[in-house]
């Protein structure tokens, strides 16, 4: 790797340094006005991301996980109303002006999108799109940037990069395109990479490969990874900490092991039970949580999950539950955690 690359860890002169989380989201709320009403996509969400760690953010569609990611990147549509603070290395991203935010994007924080076939511009070669990312934030001329691009392509495991670099996205497979997208995301050694459903649009056989590439590259570069997915199984084995979202709120957050061993939230338990297991007989019906996610316009008054919850009581209908500490760095948003923990003893086994 050439010497022009910015070194790790970042010099302390840039923004607030020191130890502690690189990202601290505080009471983030996002709303969009639509024709049918005000959509409450994200409600009072707070969490952090530590340097170099993998944070899994799990939730169904409509849970607000993607909107959170867009809010961090500053890519929300113009009509959105955002409240709260997003502190990156101490500075509030929401308070930055557009030019400053543009310098952050792609350099400090980058994003991997869901469908690689649509995330890449179909009329430009993959090489051009990679070089564009490099030259936006690094002072390299075209040849140097091209060499850099080839090395990155090698890093993400693309065979024969010399040939591929001048090809168009439609000439590459989905898995290959996603590798390019990953290469683009890490091109400038960002502190944080947000991956929004990075494998959902890919074939199952390719998913594992791409996950492998992503985690190894992330570890090598040293960036933190915020892995957003609806598949709890995907974060097993890759995430350090897991955060479960539902109805625009965080339901539970814990180290990965704790989530799988001692899920303390009814929704988390439901998700765990929905995972198909190898050791179940073929005749056991697949479990799915009954009911449907709430409308984003009419959020239930109390707990977001109560209509579908086996442990729900009248209190859950009217009173939104607080975040309660369950263990070390383990929080759950529920009124009846003790009952849940008692019930979850039956589900606790080794992670899938």
């Amino acid at each position: 790797m050439s010497a022009v690359r910015p070194e790790l860890p970042y010099p302390a002169s840039r923004w607030d340094s020191g130890d502690g989380p690189i990202l601290q989201v505080e009471n983030l709320s996002v709303e969009f006005p639509t024709r049918e009403g005000l959509v409450h996509a994200v409600e009072d969400v707070s969490f952090r991301v530590e340097p170099g760690e993998v944070l899994g953010v799990v939730g169904e569609s409509g849970s607000g996980k993607s909107v959170t990611a867009l809010a961090i990147m500053g890519l929300l549509p113009k009509r959105s109303r955002v409240r709260g603070a997003i502190r990156f290395r101490g500075r509030d991203l929401l308070a930055l002006d557009r030019t400053a935010m543009r310098d952050v994007r792609g350099r400090e924080i980058s994003m991997i999108f869901q469908d690689p076939m649509t995330a890449l511009n179909p009329v430009l070669t993959v090489g051009r799109q990679l070089v564009e990312m490099i030259r936006r934030h690094q002072d390299l001329d075209r040849q140097e940037a091209r060499r850099e691009a080839l090395e990155l392509m090698d890093l993400v495991g693309i065979p024969a990069p010399q040939r591929r670099i001048d090809q168009f996205p439609h000439e590459l497979s989905g898995g290959m395109c996603q590798r390019i997208v990953i290469a683009i995301a890490i091109a400038n050694r960002p502190l944080l990479v947000i991956a929004d459903e990075p494998t959902t649009a890919l074939d199952v056989t390719i998913q594992a490969q791409v996950m492998e590439v992503m985690t190894s590259v992330q570890a090598e570069v040293g960036s933190a990874l915020m892995l957003i997915t609806h598949d709890l199984g995907l974060v097993a084995g890759t995430a350090d900490r897991v955060q479960v979202m539902y109805g625009g709120r965080i339901m539970e957050t814990a180290p990965a092991n704790s989530i799988f061993a001692e899920g303390a939230n009814p929704y988390t338990l439901g998700l765990l039970r929905s995972l198909p297991r190898l050791d179940e007989s073929g005749e056991t019906p697949l479990f799915s949580i009954r009911g449907a996610p709430p409308s984003a316009i009419l959020r239930p008054e109390g707990c977001a999950f109560h209509p579908r919850c086996d442990y729900a009581t009248d209190q859950c209908v009217v009173e939104p539950p607080p975040m309660v500490a369950v263990g070390a760095d383990h929080l759950s948003r529920c009124h009846h955690i003790d009952r849940v923990l008692a019930g979850s003893a039956a589900v606790a086994e080794s992670p899938p």
Binding site: R290, G291, P294, P307, R308, A312, D314, V317
Partner: protein, 303 residues
């Protein structure tokens, strides 16, 4: 413990909640709802209906015939003659409205005939593919590639002096747009699952096309048909204006404008009446067509 599943679809008695029944409302109903709420399109419908109604009503109410000669020559608009009179004393309001009536009838006829031809040929080409498609597509390409207006003039000169003959000529040129749209729809639908199922059940091709695929195509066809009316009005009036279309004594908006052109030095505003009516019809028709398109596919476009 009280039942807290308040927003589930099934009530305590096991029957579907009213809200669930609402969700199952038909697609056609949804489209209708959306269209009715499209304010611009609805306004256009109202204006168009009023306009067309006046084409029939106004001549009945007016004291003048459309070819009746009055002693008031070359009058500017007045109370007696709201649109004025022409060089030989005919009342222009009556003439304009009767002309409008002819123009719109021609345009609607064009639209219907072109739609029938286009749907038939497009369906055949799209569903059967192969040489049927090759032949029809080649014809479509030919018609698209020849200069429309020039050919239109050539044909109209020879055969297009009557309104219905001109309508046929226009339809012969305009069917290709609908043909292409329908062909595309049939191509995309012929591999659909429900078509496979019907084929597996032994249904004849014609039945599949009519009963299964065609209902899905109705929406876009109706949109194209509506927009065709506007195109037909413009083309008919253009050809008639140039003197090659409908000839007198039958008035259309086109040849009325042509007449008015002669008086452009003395009463230049005379072209505004028939021309304005033509523009108004086309505008309304376009708004309605657009509204229909939005109602059919609200996610597809932006206003």
């Amino acid at each position: 413990m009280t039942d807290v599943r308040s927003d589930s679809l099934v009530g305590g008695d096991g029957l579907l909640q009213p809200s669930a029944v609402q969700e199952a409302r038909g697609f056609g109903r949804q489209v209708w709802d959306r269209f009715v709420h499209h304010r611009v399109a609805m306004a256009a419908v109202v204006v168009l209906v009023l306009l067309i109604a006046s084409f029939w009503v106004a001549p009945l109410l007016s004291p003048f015939e459309f070819d009746e000669l009055t002693p008031d020559l070359r009058q500017a608009p007045s109370w007696a003659h709201p649109f004025g009179t022409d060089e030989i004393g005919r009342d222009l309001l009556v003439r304009t409205f009767i002309g409008g009536g002819f123009s719109i009838r021609i345009a609607v006829l064009v639209s219907i005939v072109a739609t029938l031809i286009g749907t038939l040929l497009g369906a055949l080409a799209g569903y059967f593919g192969g040489w049927v498609d090759a032949v029809i597509s080649q014809v479509v390409n030919l018609v698209l590639v020849i200069p429309a207006l020039a050919i239109l003039l050539v044909l109209a000169l020879r055969w297009g002096s009557g309104p219905w003959a001109l309508a046929m000529i226009l339809a012969a040129l305009l069917w290709v747009r609908i043909g292409r749209v329908v062909r595309g729809l049939f191509i995309s639908h012929r591999e659909a699952d429900f078509v496979e199922a019907a084929r597996a059940a032994g249904a004849r091709s014609s039945r599949i096309m009519l009963r299964h695929i065609l209902p899905n195509a109705v929406g876009p066809i109706v949109v194209e048909m509506t927009l065709l009316v506007g195109t037909a009005i413009i083309l008919e009036s253009t050809v008639s204006f140039l003197g090659l279309g409908v000839q007198f004594p039958i008035p259309t908006l086109g040849n009325l404008i042509n007449e008015a052109k002669g008086a452009i030095d003395t009463v230049p505003s005379r072209i505004l009446f028939p021309g304005g009516v033509a523009v108004l019809i086309t505008l309304c028709v376009n708004f309605i067509g657009d509204g229909l398109r939005d109602a059919l596919d609200p996610a597809g476009g932006h206003a």
